[in-house]
């Protein structure tokens, strides 16, 4: 059945007997970019899909390693929870949380989960639409637990005005200028980072006048490439 690879080598994926359709399409270049996957809300179930598109551009950053414990009759059983943010500094972020007995395993697992949770970030202008986009398109907020993080558009040159952790996430998303406002117990890093991620994800959920034009629906990749997908899966593909 499925033979686990070390995660470091891309060859491990060739051992998967059952490749998810999106992966097949991506591998064979039928899907040209991640944005197509986002457009049709296709669930990303294998992190290699993201690697195919973003590859080296994707950087990861461990936000925190948190030891968590469980009580057993023989003492405490400690595991490590890793929070990893992944981003290409140009419009894509992902957040992964993984708990494991060893730190390294946790980090590795978190990176994989972060890649699968990658989300497009919409960037806009504060005022004049000169030059490249640099800030959030509008005020967005994300909540997790008691923490709510609000991102507010800022003029060019303002930089990211935020606490250490949300700042890191915003940087990896490719946001250059941003004001923030947060509320709640922000020292629970887990919640803060999830709230920021949620806020960034919300940027593409916001209807602005530019998006008022009626959508022209295209064929989804599963429909377009149905003949290709109907072909039996050769081992390794």
């Amino acid at each position: 059945m499925y033979i686990k690879g070390t995660g470091k080598h891309d060859s491990c994926c060739s051992l998967l007997l059952r490749l998810v359709d999106v992966r097949r399409l991506a591998w064979h270049g039928k899907i040209k970019s991640l944005e197509q996957i986002f457009l049709f809300s296709l669930p990303i179930k294998e992190y290699q899909i993201v690697d195919t598109f973003l590859g080296s551009a994707l950087k990861d950053e461990v936000m925190k390693i948190m030891p968590v414990q469980k009580q057993t009759r023989a003492g405490q059983r400690t595991r490590f929870k890793a929070f990893v943010v992944v981003g290409d500094y140009n419009g894509h972020v992902g957040l992964g949380v993984k708990c494991a007995k060893e730190v390294a395993t946790a980090i590795r697992g978190a990176i994989i989960l972060a890649k699968m949770a990658i989300v497009p970030v919409r960037r806009g202008y504060w005022g004049n639409k000169i030059g490249p986009v640099h800030t959030v398109p509008g005020k967005v907020t994300g909540t997790c637990g008691s923490v709510s993080v609000r991102l507010i558009p800022a003029p060019r040159g303002a930089g990211i005005v935020a606490a250490r952790t949300p700042k890191k996430v915003l940087q990896m998303a490719g946001i250059v200028d941003c004001y923030t406002s947060s509320r709640g117990t922000t020292r629970t890093l887990g919640n803060t980072v999830k709230a920021t991620y949620a806020a960034l994800a919300a940027t593409y959920g916001f209807l602005t006048p530019e998006l008022w034009k009626e959508t022209v629906f295209q064929k989804g990749p599963f429909q377009e490439f149905t003949d290709f997908l109907a072909k039996p899966v050769i081992k390794g593909h």
């Binding site: 059952r18 296709l42 179930k45 429909q223 149905t226 003949d227 109907a230």
Partner: protein, 282 residues
């Protein structure tokens, strides 16, 4: 056209597909004609027929028929679902829907269908839930007391009675074949509704006994290519008939009329798939 509609509605009436239950959900109110004096809600079969046609069109719009999966956990719908799959080239999941079949890519039974057809939203809720995770649209036969959460096309009808479910799948299959052009006024579909009805195991055995001998002779015929292995199983695979459980032996008698209907695009493969799924069922 109108004649066919009239005949079909008469068939639905005979199968009591218009009778709902004593409860009615808010979403199903629009399909209800009225409530009887004994408390049973009665469906407006005209709307049922419209939804059947809509569903058939959606099914036909899927280029690869194998991407459609029909599901029934309850025994009453299993035969209908299997027949639907055989005649339209779809896949059938009968009995227990293993959780994770749509979401867990590491699982052996992992599938990625593009459309789901469900007999009862309540008993098949696991399948509907997973379809939601994987962006799979759902067509379901809904009764008056069904919850429509997660269902994209609801076909209002009685999904409790075995005749009702049988007729519904029969009509759906025929509408799909008509939309595809496989069946038309020139080449009518001569499969009987009875093939879609659930049969109690005793009934099935009774009918099987005399047919089993006929089947044995049929299979021994050397004309069938590749009839090396297990008798009934392999013969059925090659001829494109559904799996060789005794009850399907009835089909052997009606052999000439079966050919056109049993040979859609992926007929052979579908039969093989049915044979696989069949292992657990009857």
């Amino acid at each position: 056209m109108a004649d066919q509609r009239g005949n079909d509605v008469a068939l639905l009436l005979a199968a009591q597909s218009h009778l709902g239950t004593k409860n009615c959900t808010a979403h199903m109110e629009r399909y209800v004609h009225k409530r009887r004096s004994d408390g049973i809600f009665v469906f407006n079969l005209g709307r049922t027929y419209e939804k059947l046609q809509l569903a058939a069109r959606v099914i036909v719009a899927i280029e690869n028929p194998q991407d459609v999966v029909a599901i029934s956990a309850r025994p009453y719908g299993q035969r209908g679902v299997l027949k639907f799959a055989t005649y339209t080239g779809a896949r059938a999941t009968v009995g227990r829907h293993t959780p994770g079949a749509f979401t867990n890519q590491l699982q052996k039974g992992f599938e990625e269908p593009r459309l789901l057809i469900v007999t009862d939203p309540r008993t098949d809720h696991q399948a509907i839930k997973e379809a939601a995770y994987m962006n799979i649209p759902v067509i379901a036969f809904t009764d008056t007391d069904s919850d429509l959460a997660g269902i994209d096309i609801a076909i209002p009808a009685n999904n409790k009675g075995k005749h009702s479910i049988g007729v519904l799948f029969y009509l759906l299959t025929r509408l799909v074949l008509q939309a595809r052009g496989t069946v038309s006024a020139a080449s009518p579909w001569d499969v009987m509704v009875d093939m879609f009805f659930y049969r109690e195991p005793e009934e099935a055995k009774e009918e099987a006994a005399p047919e089993a001998e006929a089947a044995a002779e049929y299979v021994a015929d050397a004309a069938f290519p590749g009839a090396e292995e297990g008798a009934g199983f392999d013969a059925s695979y090659n001829t494109g008939f559904p799996a060789a459980a005794p009850e399907f032996a009835t089909g052997f008698d009606a052999a000439p009329s079966f050919e056109p209907a049993a040979a859609p695009a992926a007929g052979g493969d579908a039969a093989f798939a049915q044979a696989q799924d069949f292992g657990g069922g009857f």
